[in-house]
């Protein structure tokens, strides 16, 4: 009898456990658990390489949330993750309320992004206006789909000691001179290093700047694919020479972090980067820290056309608290945030509001080593140049077409093949094949 009783109990227990286990997911427990009196906001912003800057931003936003009765779940990620997140959120109609992306995502995802025209116009007016390049990036068919946040400012990073050893007092102003100098530096054992691998930050900054400086581009002004041109071939020829004569061989495999490591380890003399190399150099007190310097990008035959890595903040339109999110966005671009955050940001976070350019507390005005970053936002171009930003331009970048084209010619493929291959890939993306 006791035997049977036990078995019944055990059976019920087991069955109950199984039932409970199946019931949990179906019940949508998550929604029940997070339902709260306060308004919850899930926010993802781009992280800085400076830990204190991340902590400062977190503290400022948490403080804002506490004052306004928000329950803020903030995570700081890097740009690749955020692009993936936006895609997935758009696909599923769920995810964070607010997130930050790089480049021209607002155009690609306009359908799922909330209209933020009111706050953007307001913020722009109050702070000396947006840079036009930032405005173009966010305004889709006359509606602001995102708020410009900051420019991840890039410059040439070089070692003064090695350059002067090679006979250069200042960083040269054209790519041709860079090639000559690089050949000399490489023979000294300190080659140049520009990422030709799949590096979304440094790599894109480099390859698009070179392409555009040589007068070439993926499309013409009307958005018709026009990559297979003499200018592109000229850029490829230059890249082949630069790789063979002046660069470290490993650049073909570089990601965004490779040039930082190689520079700090003293293996290369010149690279393109945000200010993170100097920052790490000072943190770790590397022996040549005083010789690390920044210069603006060199010009090509078509002048200096620099690629800009622009960051925008979007509100997803499925969010249940769009108004609160807008409030938070306004706060992020208010002086309450910029005045403490900007000076601490080491010129990596460069506001896209014009009146900070000459603000005396900003790093590019206080630290002479960072002066090269000043004013980039007024002159640089965004993806899609010389046309307007578009979803297709974003996909060309995401498919690494230009990066691979240059990498192919660098590793010995014929220029004709590489260019026509890239051209065809672009045609396919633009649907013009």
């Amino acid at each position: 009898m006791s035997n049977k009783g036990m078995s019944r109990r055990s059976f019920l227990k087991l069955a109950g456990a199984a039932a409970a286990a199946t019931a949990i997911p179906v019940g949508g427990l998550n929604k029940v658990l997070t339902a709260n009196a306060q308004t919850a906001l899930t926010v993802q912003l781009r992280s800085s390489f400076i830990p204190t800057n991340n902590e400062l931003l977190t503290a400022l936003l948490n403080d804002y949330a506490a004052r306004n009765g928000l329950e803020l779940d903030l995570s700081l990620l890097n740009h690749q993750q955020m692009a993936e997140t936006l895609t997935a959120a758009a696909a599923s109609g769920a995810g964070p309320d607010v997130l930050e992306t790089v480049d021209i995502k607002p155009h690609q995802f306009a359908d799922v992004l909330a209209d933020v025209s009111d706050i953007c116009e307001e913020i722009g007016e109050a702070n000396g206006g947006w840079y036009p390049v930032a405005r173009d990036l966010c305004v889709v068919d006359g509606v602001w789909r995102a708020m410009p946040h900051f420019l991840a400012a890039h410059a040439m990073v070089y070692r003064e000691d090695l350059l002067s050893e090679a006979g250069y007092d200042a960083f040269p102003g054209t790519w041709d001179e860079v090639l000559t100098m690089g050949t000399e530096l490489k023979s000294m054992g300190f080659p140049l290093g520009f990422a030709l691998g799949h590096a979304g930050g440094d790599g894109n900054n480099f390859v698009y700047s070179v392409l555009w400086s040589f007068g070439a581009a993926v499309t013409d002004e009307a958005g018709v694919v026009n990559l297979d041109t003499p200018e592109t071939r000229q850029a490829c020829e230059f890249m082949q020479q630069l790789y063979n004569d002046a660069m470290i061989e490993t650049v073909l495999a570089w990601d965004d972090s490779s040039n930082n490591r190689a520079f700090i380890a003293g293996e290369i003399s010149v690279t393109n980067n945000a200010s993170s190399i100097l920052w790490v150099g000072r943190r770790d007190q590397v022996e040549f820290v005083d010789a690390i310097s920044h210069a603006s990008y060199p010009a090509g035959p078509a002048g200096l056309v620099q690629f800009l890595e622009l960051n925008t903040i979007e509100i997803l339109n499925f969010s249940e608290s769009i108004e609160e999110a807008k409030g938070l966005l306004s706060f992020i671009n208010s002086p309450e945030v910029w005045l403490p955050l900007g000076p601490d940001g080491f010129a990596f976070i460069y506001p896209l509001l014009q009146n900070y350019e000459n603000h005396p507390a900003m790093p590019w005005n206080t630290d002479p080593k960072l002066a090269a970053f000043k004013g980039l936002a007024a002159t640089g171009k965004a993806l899609g140049y010389p046309g307007t930003p578009s979803a297709e331009a974003s996909e060309v970048a995401a498919s690494w077409i230009i990066n691979d084209m240059f990498a192919n010619v660098a590793s010995g493929e014929s220029i004709d093949d590489a260019v026509s291959e890239a051209h065809n890939a672009c045609l396919a993306i633009y649907g013009q094949d």
Binding site: Q80, A83, T87, A91, F109, S258, A398
Partner: protein
């Protein structure tokens, strides 16, 4: 004893017990208990596997794009045709997938078998060895792949550094450039991760190889290779087949290693990673689903082969 209980009139407060008893009695029948015990598993299979799979079939025939209104229309087999007409798809992704899958599985089987045979020898601290070799397989892939990424770094690879110090090479090897070294590196990591699993399963199987047969074969003058082919392999064939099938399926659908090591990119894309990229980072859900379905014929073949095999030996 049960009869006695049923003969007595039941007071009302004992009714629940009676009902429970009736349920128990009803359950004590394999035609009832059997299906009931299977319910939780079937819920998963129908609701979470069959239904999504059907959904994938449907998606693959639509032009669904994430976040784009006005998509999700039926387009027939356009996605499949478009993919097939892509040059990269035919010349890079499909061959990569085949090379990766078969290359890695064959080598995993070979290494795993070798390791299993070695570990099957009498030796001190046998159990320690067995536990330790499992490490590559049990550690979360994305974490160990990060270690590999660091070890294969273009500038600071410890492997390059060692080879240079031993004067075997004089220039850094770029492990992660396209097309060949990158695919080889990815395969190497896959083999590194999968070999222990093969080794442990095959080692387990080796335990049941009858010693008498081995000794008899030895007395008959069979050499090592003959003994291996004639005695060991036939005995453990079922395990070899099952493990290889399992590994083929896993390797064919493997996303993590490529994704974390090279971030995709067309030089190392496999069908699975390409589908993941299309669906997850390029917003083209319909096309992504179609790309993943290109794997399906492969699975059908594998499934068919394994079923036939199992049927033959009284599955």
């Amino acid at each position: 004893m049960q009869k006695e209980m049923e003969l007595q009139p039941t007071p009302i407060y004992l009714m629940p017990l009676r009902i429970l008893g009736a349920i128990r009695k009803w359950l004590d029948n394999e035609r009832h208990l059997g299906p009931i015990m299977i319910i939780p598993a079937m819920l998963v299979v129908i609701g979470l596997i069959a239904y999504p799979f059907g959904n994938a079939l449907w998606l693959s025939m639509t032009d669904t794009q994430a976040g784009q209104e006005g998509t999700g229309n039926y387009v027939g087999f356009d996605n499949f045709v478009d993919l097939w007409e892509m040059k990269d798809f035919r010349t890079i992704i499909i061959p990569n997938t085949l090379r990766y899958t078969f290359g890695a599985v064959v080598l995993k089987l070979a290494f795993g078998m070798g390791l299993a045979l070695l570990l099957n020898r009498p030796m001190p601290m046998k159990n320690v060895f067995r536990g330790v070799i499992l490490l590559p397989w049990i550690v979360p892939t994305s974490l160990s792949v990060m270690a590999w990424r660091w070890m294969l770094d273009p500038d600071f690879s410890i492997i390059n550094e060692m080879l240079i110090n031993l004067e075997i090479i004089d220039k850094d090897i770029l492990f992660l450039v396209k097309p060949k070294p990158a695919l080889w590196s990815v395969m190497a990591v896959n083999i590194w991760r999968g070999t222990p699993f093969f080794a442990v399963t095959l080692l387990a199987a080796l335990q049941v190889v009858p010693q008498e047969q081995l000794e008899a074969a030895q007395i008959d003058g069979a050499n090592v290779v003959q003994r291996f082919m004639k005695v060991i392999v036939p005995t453990i064939m079922p395990v070899i087949v099952v493990t290889t099938m399992f590994s083929l399926v896993r390797t064919l659908g493997d996303v993590e290693i490529v994704w974390v090591l090279t971030g995709g990119g067309r030089d190392t894309h496999l069908l699975a990673t390409y589908s993941y990229q299309l669906g997850f980072t390029a917003t083209q859900l319909g096309r992504g689903a179609a790309a993943s379905l290109f794997l399906f014929p492969g699975f059908l073949v594998l499934m068919f082969l394994q079923l036939r095999y199992l049927q033959n030996r009284d599955y």
